[in-house]
């Protein structure tokens, strides 16, 4: 059995192990790993996240058990001190000796500390390891006790320096970035994009000082400032140095491997050093006279070394390494690819800049306008993947290349071709290196006709998931090219879309789930189709969730929101957030009686948590007696209509937003829909009710109400779009009636209005056509269907507490009076919370 020793347990050293164990049969090689740090390999790229959660474990590439499970001998806190090439052994700091057949050096780099007078002063730190961060943090805490508004400087305005600035800001210090060059991120950005980034960062409270050469660091014992020139001094209480990296190549030097003149261990395209048994990967490897300080080339090097050791000789490093990067820097997208800066003789650039929105987009195009050579994106990098593919695959540019960064402005010209235009060799999923060709073949030849099936077969989308939209398109388009109709059936039990089922239920007047399954479905149903069909019944017949309880999602079945420990929360309706002191007292009394945790929700009402199943009818009986009704917080239905205080109190108010919001909330209460719906009403354009991030919103303006639809917060925030301007309340309500009814009838299950609009052919203009111009001739029908729902509303909790059969469902056991003894609460700020999950 041969032995492979890996020196260094950083990101690249870990990736070597991961790729190695994936390819090697257990027992054929012995793998030993040495790491100098006390921890197992962690994600250094996201080091600043350590401040947000303080959880070092979360940064780990893999837990310690992973190494054990894969039979990797891991020694952390153990530095390798010598390599003896003749005997093929290494020795460690604790003077142990190990034999190797292959040695892989992945010792990475250390921060470069420039020779400035005073760098040895107390309060000067580097930014590289979790330990560095902890030391910095401890010093910051000390400083904060004695200095008000302490300042910290970061020497270096590159990628890492800006990350460090964010870390320092999170520590509660005022950050000052000091850069020698006249721009930020000099290696990735041109002057203008750097300026855009600078303005954005400054608006976030990060001070930037460019073109500053530091003469000395001031202070008696500990740092108090930096001196750039005579009379040019920056007073700071702490300094973090992030001025680049130096390869940790001392092991290679001492054992006589061939070195670069400015450091780094020389490797060939097989990642071998001048000694055939020794490999070097990551930031110590000098390949093409370059050190690559990015993760992606490091990972590729790890893969090459693995294959070479296993005798797969054709795997070699590419001659040219793509240095394209995309990252989110302090919440700002920054990306550069190909040749980001380009001299004019090679081609021309198309540049879009908007400083007020912090946007900068530049693409470099060949003189003949046919090829994309590179580019820079700041502020919005959503087009990065497609641009990178165009560059890497030398795809022909569209006639108007400016559309690539500006989008199509009017007309039918779509800025990007479809994903199908990519060559088969284009790597679509870079995490798992899956090409477009592999995905399309998997659809064509192996019959994998969904993203789910593709990801199972090829592993595409299983890494970061960023390629999912592209894979979706590829699957859809390939199926289309095969002449297959892409059927949007809701699950294996119904070969129909939700819209088709809606029509079937309505036309055939089917009233229960079993009949529908018997008539047009197959099998016995599942947790996808049952609630979808329940929602259809509710929308057509306005039946409450009580009648067919077992086809409802759990929250609807028990008319409450299930929480962490299987208890429920209770939310009475407080239309538009208007509540009387008497009602507040009643809620307080009831919450206290049942020992419930109370919290104000984002929808301007009160949530009471921690009710056990058997307590729900008791609580509701009391709430109903106080005049409350259900708030449907548990349903895919109207939640709340949020309001600002409006012209009754507010000195800016243009109209009475509260009254309108109450009327609207009461109009739509209880209406079930494909997903939850939220509304908002603002009394003026200051928009305090945030109506534009709701499914429907009204904003009072001079001369009437503006109506917005299809906005949402959540995972993919989207602003609502204007449906109608300056209309009166009655018209505004009528439009929203029709829009909601149309959405309810046509949306797929669990699709919010914003996602529905995104997929709707014709978009907002089409909705206007349907709702305002009645292009389908269904407006009258939509009106009467909505009116039916409004007229037949009843409080389903009232129904539940008054009906002994429904009420009897609220017991934990069917054969005992006891309650669930598995539920445990702990105290939290004078209230309670569920005992945390282990």
């Amino acid at each position: 059995m041969k032995t492979v020793i890996v020196v260094g347990n950083g990101m690249v050293g870990y990736k070597f192990c991961e790729k190695f164990v994936a390819k090697v049969d257990q027992g054929s090689f012995k793998l030993i790993v040495f790491g100098e740090e006390p921890r197992v390999a962690y994600d250094r790229v996201h080091l600043s996240e350590y401040f947000e959660n303080g959880d070092a474990e979360r940064l780990s590439m893999a837990p310690r058990e992973w190494y054990r499970e894969n039979n990797i001998e891991l020694y952390t806190n153990e530095r390798v001190t010598d390599i003896h090439r003749n005997s093929k052994t290494i020795t460690t700091l604790s003077e142990k000796t190990y034999n190797y057949d292959y040695l892989v050096l992945a010792t990475g780099s250390s921060p470069f500390v420039p020779q400035i007078n005073g760098v040895d002063k107390e309060g000067v730190f580097v930014y590289r390891t979790i330990e560095d961060l902890e030391d910095t943090l401890a010093y910051a805490d000390k400083i904060k006790k004695t200095v008000q508004k302490p300042k910290a400087a970061i020497l270096g305005g590159g990628l890492l320096g800006l990350e460090a600035a964010k870390a320092v800001m999170d520590m509660g210090m005022e950050p000052h970035v000091v850069e020698f060059a006249p721009k930020l991120m000099p290696r990735q950005l041109d002057t203008r994009s750097s300026k855009v980034l600078q303005v954005k960062l400054e608006s976030m409270g990060i001070n930037i000082h460019l073109s500053k050469a530091t003469n000395q660091i001031l202070g008696n014992g500990h740092v108090i400032g930096m001196e750039f020139g005579e009379d040019d001094v920056l007073n700071v209480d702490m300094l973090v140095i992030s001025a680049g990296i130096r390869p940790r190549d001392e092991l290679g030097k001492s054992c006589g491997l061939k070195m670069g003149t400015r450091g780094g261990i020389v490797v060939d395209n097989t990642m071998r050093t001048s000694d055939q048994s020794i490999f070097a990967i990551g930031e110590i490897a000098l390949y093409n006279q370059m050190i690559y300080g990015l993760v992606a080339p490091g990972y590729e090097m790890a893969g090459v070394a693995v294959d070479q050791i296993l005798g797969i000789e054709e795997t070699v490093m590419a001659a040219e390494i793509d240095m394209s990067t995309k990252l989110k820097l302090i919440g700002v997208d920054v990306a550069s690819f190909g040749t980001p800066f380009m001299p004019a003789e090679k081609g021309h650039s198309i540049i879009f800049e908007n400083k007020t929105e912090s946007l900068y987009k530049r693409i470099n195009v060949s003189h003949d306008g046919k090829r994309l050579l590179g580019g820079i994106l700041v502020g919005d990098a959503k087009d990065y993947n497609m641009l990178l593919q165009m560059y890497l695959n030398e795809m022909p540019l569209p006639k108007n290349p400016e559309n690539l960064i500006l989008g199509s402005r009017g007309g039918e010209d779509v800025s990007f071709g479809s994903a199908m235009d990519l060559p088969d060799t284009a790597v679509v999923c870079s995490c798992e290196a899956v090409t477009k060709g592999q995905i399309c073949c998997s659809v064509k030849d192996d019959g994998n006709d969904s993203v789910k099936a593709i990801s199972k077969a090829t592993k595409a989308t299983t890494g970061c998931g960023g390629c999912k939209p592209m894979v979706e398109d590829l699957v859809k388009e390939t199926l289309k090219s095969l002449g297959k109709v892409v059927k949007e059936s809701i699950c294996e039990h119904f070969e129909y879309s939700r819209q088709e089922l809606y029509d079937i239920v309505k036309l055939r007047k089917i009233e229960d789930y079993d009949s529908l399954l018997d008539e047009v479905g197959k099998g016995h149903g599942c947790e996808v189709c049952k609630p979808a069909v329940a929602s259809i019944f509710a929308s057509i017949y306005n039946e409450t969730a009580n009648r067919q309880a077992t086809i409802q999602d759990t929250n609807d079945r028990y008319l409450a929101n299930i929480q962490r420990n299987g208890t429920y929360s209770v939310v009475p309706r407080v239309a538009a957030g208007e509540i009387t002191p008497k009602q507040l007292l009643a809620i307080g009394r009831i919450a206290q009686k049942y020992d419930l945790y109370t919290k104000i929700t984002g929808g301007q009402r009160i949530d009471m948590f921690g009710a056990q199943l058997h307590e729900l009818p008791l609580i509701w009986e009391e709430l109903i007696a106080e005049g409350f009704e259900t708030g449907q917080a548990y349903g895919k239905s109207l939640r709340t209509v949020k309001s600002c205080v409006g012209s009754t109190w507010c000195r800016y108010g243009m109209d009475e937003s509260v009254t309108f919001a109450i009327d609207i909330e009461n109009r739509y209460k209880g209406i079930r829909s494909p997903h939850k719906i939220k509304g908002g009403v603002s009394g003026c354009i200051r928009e305090c009710a945030e109506a534009r991030n709701k499914d429907f919103g009204f904003i009072a303006v001079e001369g009437g109400w503006n109506v917005y639809i299809c906005g949402n917060g959540g995972a993919n925030p989207q602003h609502a779009q204007l449906l109608a301007e300056k209309v009166d309340k009655i018209t505004a309500t009528k439009y929203v009636d029709r829009f909601l009814m149309y959405y309810i009838q046509t949306a797929p299950p669990l699709t919010r209005t914003a996602a529905w609009l995104d997929k709707l052919e014709g978009g907002i203009d089409y909705v206007k056509d349907v709702v305002i111009n009645d292009c389908l001739g269904i407006a009258e029908q939509l009106d009467s269907e909505m009116q039916y729902l409004v007229d037949t509303y009843k409080c389903e909790w009232k129904e539940a507490v008054e009906n002994p059969e429904i009420r009897s469902r609220y017991t934990h056991f069917v054969n005992a009076e006891e309650t669930d003894d598995n539920i445990e609460f702990v105290s939290l700020r004078e209230q309670k919370m569920p005992k945390a999950w282990v």
């Binding site: 039990h493 077992t550 069917v814």
Partner: protein, 125 residues
């Protein structure tokens, strides 16, 4: 926490040594479940009316160790009867207890019989 999980062990029909008389049939909703207490244990019992069969399994979801499975929705995946946990939609086979959409440990299943409109759950002890 793990110790709770260990109190539930699947019982094969031929190993049943005790039939526990749980509750009358009408206490269990059609095509739905309810929870039965037996000694210190919580057993979820499902009345799969569409199939005309009954199933029983531990009420404890092995994902986050909450007693909730009896409140889950039942259904079928390619013919395999299953229950979906109401908390995170983890689905388990009602026949074998196997986790169908992931790698959680299997849940314990128990035989059920109906006699004189009463539901009995089989244990071996």
């Amino acid at each position: 926490m793990i110790s709770i999980l260990n109190t539930y062990e699947a019982v094969e029909p031929e190993k049943v040594s005790l039939w526990f008389k749980a509750a009358p049939v009408e206490k269990f909703p059609k095509n739905g479940g309810a929870c039965v207490k037996y000694k210190g244990m919580q057993i979820a019992v499902f009345n799969f009316t569409r199939e005309g069969t009954w199933y029983a399994c531990q009420n404890l979801c092995p994902h986050k160790m909450e007693m909730v499975l009896s409140r889950g929705m039942i259904g079928e995946d390619q013919g395999e009867p299953k229950v979906a946990c109401p908390l995170h939609k983890n689905s388990f086979s009602l026949k074998t207890g196997k986790h169908l959409n992931g790698d959680l440990s299997s849940i314990a299943t128990y035989p059920v019989k109906i006699e004189d409109d009463f539901v009995y759950i089989g244990f071996s002890e």
